[in-house]
């Protein structure tokens, strides 16, 4: 593992998703900027970056799933996935950059026009008021809890790198990625032994190992190091970032209690050895496997998107299109992680959709919710057909 390969991993797992996701997060009248409006400057920026990261990664997983499954079922080579996905990522990032530049220019022009209309003094006063309010809201106890959160996060990330966790399922998932990268063939070798076999349709519909192999290919880090060290070290803070977005929303007026929410979440992960089947344990021990990603990232993401949908319904406002796009991307990413994703992602959406009919006496949300679930229904059908 060289410094260059580590930097390339940071590029592919942080910089690229943040850039791709900025197309959603910087939308002026979207749910993200609206949700972050009442917060202090630093926290607002952090919120927008986290949303960009989350939505960008979902978008990239979504694209990867579509490209990879299509190529695998066509029995093409792994190298084609690398080419097509790299190209698509470049296009998505390019579009995101152009869109954001145009938005910034527009905003700049509008601000200049406002300055001419209202005078600069008002603006200066407004900024001063915001700063004053930030200072008033500063809470010493919360400051301490934020430090506790940061310490536990750093500790868990360091332990992720310093401790090795033996999980027998890696003999499948990591070895499959190793085989793909080396042989350029996909799902026709038994990963446990390396012996040629018939096409494994079931696993080919959840090509999370192909994403792992892709990361290894573009960064030059060996698959095994990517899976056990680099990917978990980045996905761990990323997942806590998603939990922070969730906490920020569900806490509502109590947003300043977010660090308590996060520390409790960290403790639940830290003390998760009471069962081997819970998402918290999967999260900390084997985030490199698709099933752990679905448990710790995709399902909380679906709960978050459902919360946003319910929030819009309560406010009797039209749901931001980006929320529906997020739901669609979560479902597609769920299928990338696990074939079970097709069932497990749809279930809470279907339950909440039915409940909303009774709670709000309207059925308008059913159509976008069904569209959001389409990837799962499609991949479930493919799974049943190829069983």
């Amino acid at each position: 593992m060289t410094l260059t390969s580590v930097l390339l991993t940071i590029l592919w797992l942080i910089v690229v998703p943040v850039t791709a996701g900025s197309v959603f997060a910087f939308k002026k009248d979207g749910f993200i900027t609206e949700g972050c409006r009442k917060e202090g400057n630093g926290r607002r920026q952090m919120g927008i970056i986290l949303w960009s990261w989350f939505l960008g990664q979902l978008l990239l997983w979504c694209i990867f799933q579509i490209i990879a499954v299509w190529i695998i079922l066509k029995k093409n080579d792994f190298s084609l996935i690398v080419k097509m996905y790299s190209g698509s990522t470049a296009v998505v990032c390019g579009v995101a950059i152009v869109v954001n530049v145009i938005r910034q220019i527009k905003r700049h022009v509008i601000t200049e026009l406002m300055k001419i209309q209202t005078g600069e003094k008002d603006n200066i006063k407004r900024i001063a008021n915001t700063k004053q309010q930030d200072n008033v809201n500063a809470d010493k106890v919360m400051g301490v809890v934020w430090i506790v959160f940061a310490v536990i996060l750093v500790l868990q990330t360091v332990l992720q790198v310093r401790l090795a966790y033996m999980d027998a399922d890696d003999a499948y998932y990591v070895s499959e990625a190793v085989s793909m990268q080396a042989s350029n063939r996909m799902y026709n070798l038994v990963p446990y032994t390396g012996i040629t076999t018939e096409m494994d349709y079931r696993h080919s519909l959840e090509p999370f190992p192909a994403w792992l192999a892709f990361l290894s290919e573009v960064t030059g880090v060996r698959v095994v190091s990517m899976a056990h060290v680099l990917m978990p070290a980045i996905l761990l803070p990323f997942t806590y970032g998603v939990y922070a977005l969730m906490g920020n929303r569900v806490l509502g007026k109590n947003k300043d209690k977010l660090p308590i929410y996060l520390v409790v979440t960290e403790l639940l992960v830290f003390f998760s050895l009471y069962s081997t089947k819970i998402p918290e344990k999967f999260f900390v021990t084997r985030i490199r496997q698709g099933k752990a990603t679905i448990a710790s990232l995709i399902i909380p993401g679906i709960i978050l998107s459902l919360f946003l949908i319910l929030d819009y319904a309560k406010e009797k406002k039209r749901t931001d299109l980006n929320v529906w796009i997020m739901l669609f991307m979560l479902n597609t990413a769920g299928c990338l992680c696990s074939t079970l994703g097709a069932l497990i992602c749809v279930m809470p959406i279907a339950i909440v959709a039915v409940m909303m009919i009774f709670a709000y006496k309207k059925g308008w949300h059913l159509i976008p919710m069904i569209i959001g679930c389409m990837p799962c229904l499609l991949f479930a059908a493919l799974y049943v057909l190829n069983r």
Binding site: L251, F271, L343, M355, R387
Partner: protein, 252 residues
């Protein structure tokens, strides 16, 4: 079917204390929370998930169409962490003075008592290298691997999980899956794992299976000589001995 469902539930809740804490948080939400969206997402939706989970029909569908071992994963839909974390933060917001500090410390204590530090799991060990696998496996693989071609190697059970994670250039006559999940009987694996093995049986079988090398525990007792059956001692690494099939094709 009922036992199947209950066993999955028991395995999921583990010691059960955290799950009780979660249920208390849900009950608190039922009593305190007035907002419809919170009740839908954190009370009613989980209730329906539990009803579906304990429904034998769901269990039957999962058994027929998916892997029955993963039935417990339906319970991943219970927002346990979110509900507990939200409840603790919300409670802190509702209380005043020192009581609220006591409340969060109590919650943290409950989690610590109800749970167990995940890093004490027996499967954790200090990483020996950047691959997070035993260095012995790395050393053995590096010793025998031939860049540019695959070789067939038989390993002892404890190494099976790691070998192909490290290198795709080693192919194995039997793998972890066959032994662990399919309970497949493999004669060569049987000969390798026995404490005492006849050299003729072991090396003839290895040769028949196309092995270029076999890796054995140094403490294993072999009755007879490897040389007589086309194998020679190639190297000793970290308590393991590697035998090389002298008649095998090693060309690129």
């Amino acid at each position: 079917m009922w036992d199947f469902v209950v066993n999955h539930f028991k395995e999921y809740i583990g010691t059960g204390l955290i799950f009780i804490f979660y249920l208390v948080c849900v009950v608190r939400m039922v009593i305190v929370e007035k907002r419809k969206e919170y009740k839908i997402l954190f009370v009613y939706m989980p209730a329906v998930v539990l009803v579906l989970f304990f429904n034998p029909l769901t269990a039957k569908i999962m058994k027929d169409y998916a892997d029955e071992e993963i039935y417990y994963r339906i319970l991943w839909l219970l927002p346990v962490s979110v509900t507990i974390a939200y409840s603790v933060a919300d409670l802190y917001g509702r209380l005043k003075g020192r009581v609220r500090i006591v409340a969060i410390l109590l919650a943290a204590g409950l989690i610590a008592v109800g749970g167990k530090i995940v890093y004490t799991d027996a499967e954790y060990s200090i990483a020996e290298n950047e691959y997070h696998m035993p260095h012995t496996v790395v050393d053995i693989c590096d010793e025998i691997v031939i860049p540019g071609r695959e070789i067939m190697v038989a390993f002892p059970t404890e190494m099976l999980v790691y070998v192909r994670q490290y290198t795709p250039l080693i192919v194995m006559p039997y793998g972890y899956e066959e032994l662990k999940y399919i309970k497949h009987f493999d004669p060569l694996h049987e000969l390798i794992t026995e404490e005492e093995t006849d050299a003729e049986d072991l090396f003839t079988e290895a040769s028949k299976r196309g092995c270029h090398y076999i890796v054995l525990d140094e403490n294993k007792l072999i009755i007879g000589s490897a040389d007589e059956y086309g194998f020679e001692e190639y190297a000793h690494i970290d308590g393991y001995v590697i035998y090389k099939n002298v008649a095998a094709d090693f060309s690129l």
